[in-house]
Amino acid sequence: MPDSFVHAHASHCESGVMSSLLRHHGLPMSEAMVFGLASALSFAYLPFVRINGLPLVSYRMPPRAIIKGLARSLRLDIRFETFRSPSAGMERLDALLASGTLVGLQTSVFWLPYFPPDLRFHFNAHNVLVYGRERDDYLVSDPVGETTVRCARADLERARFAKGVLAPKGLLYFMTTTPPAPDWAGLGQRALARTARIMLAPLPLVGVVGMRMLARQIERLPLADGGESARLYIGNIVRMQEEIGTGGGGFRFLYASFLQELSAKTGYAVLEGLAGRLVEIGDRWREFALASARMIRGRDALSPPVLAERLRALAVDEKLFFQNLNRAQRAWAR
């Protein structure tokens, strides 16, 4: 099987894994399509989840939402298995690989030695594919890497059985049958409705309301300590936005790519225009990141209210965008 598996570079681990898994099983689907159909785009500000004392800001749905969401809407036969003992988890992986199965794993980034050292934080929901084994080395296709890598057995075991928030518990998953050809328009319409509903939900913390709430928090950051803690807080938002797998601007571009592709596949031209608008919004997110980074480095004076204002403007833009998306979805006569 190592010969037949083709690695593909992706911008997000979970959509990348699903895209490769589906393609391997005879249903070619781009990463963007996977991301969009699983309604993975989102925004959430979760002050009660603290990582090194800073709140979680996420620009997408929680881990496993893509795999589970897509499995449901495409009626995929995906098996999920978790393990109590690491040795049982590794034996099961070996048995599946021996039978030629492509296996997806949930891992902790911190324990994967091939990852760049500066990016190895304790994030427990990183997805990779394993397509083979050569003695004590596993052949790993990490979608965020340009090429495949090798990972020693002991390291992979550690990464699969890391503990803490979102502990993978050795989670592995695989497909057993070839998925049926999907009804793109039907799935697409439902996925658009779902994303619009989440982004416009009248709930605190999520969607555009969550963005406004985060803006309020930024505005109120104390500057009494010379801005040290405020800089860390802002840096954390941007890091979650651009660097690690929660990408803010990046995910807007990924979703825009989905809209373009869906438009081309179904001939519904309105989506093409919406894609263009979302690219502009993604650029605004990047400007927000740039302005924040300049303040962190002291190139511009630290001014949380200025950043809060930018975030509010983004909330206005996104609200309008998702209202339009919802309207387009409703008007979609199939």
Binding site: E31, N52, V279, R286
Partner: protein, 131 residues
């Protein structure tokens, strides 16, 4: 973002890797473009890493001065804090905090020490040392 605007700034945080980003090509279509990194990402990632490194260095100084146990140093070196160390070891936070003090650490039974060492990915002997 246009394809030609995709930053290629050679971030050291990426350690030579390229990450995939989506950008608009000349034909107006979005496509995947490998990026060598953007300085903005490098700034915020280094900020987080340096914050953890600073905490580790401060803990190291405290441990050498006998004000805290080596466990505190190793905890920060493994990019953890009390919350996370408590989760990965399954110990109460107040117990972890107690073991961060020299007196609490000195009374640590070998089995518990091993539990900490395994959670931090080092040996029990290495846990005692501050290098």
């Amino acid at each position: 973002m246009r394809e030609r605007d995709v930053p290629q700034e050679g971030n050291r945080t990426l350690a030579g890797h390229r990450k995939a980003v989506y950008a608009v090509a000349d034909d107006g279509k979005l496509r995947l473009v490998p990026s060598r990194g953007w300085e903005v990402e490098e700034i915020v990632t280094r900020q987080a890493v340096e914050d953890l490194e600073r905490r580790a260095m401060q803990a190291r100084a405290r441990a050498l001065a006998g004000e805290s146990s080596p466990l505190e140093y190793h905890m920060y070196r493994a990019r953890m804090d009390v919350d996370l160390l408590s989760q990965v070891t399954g110990l109460w936070r107040w117990r972890v905090r107690r073991h961060l003090k020299p007196a609490g650490y000195a009374r640590l039974p070998a089995a518990l020490k091993l539990r900490y060492a395994e959670a931090l990915g080092i040996s029990s002997e290495a846990l005692d040392r501050v290098d």
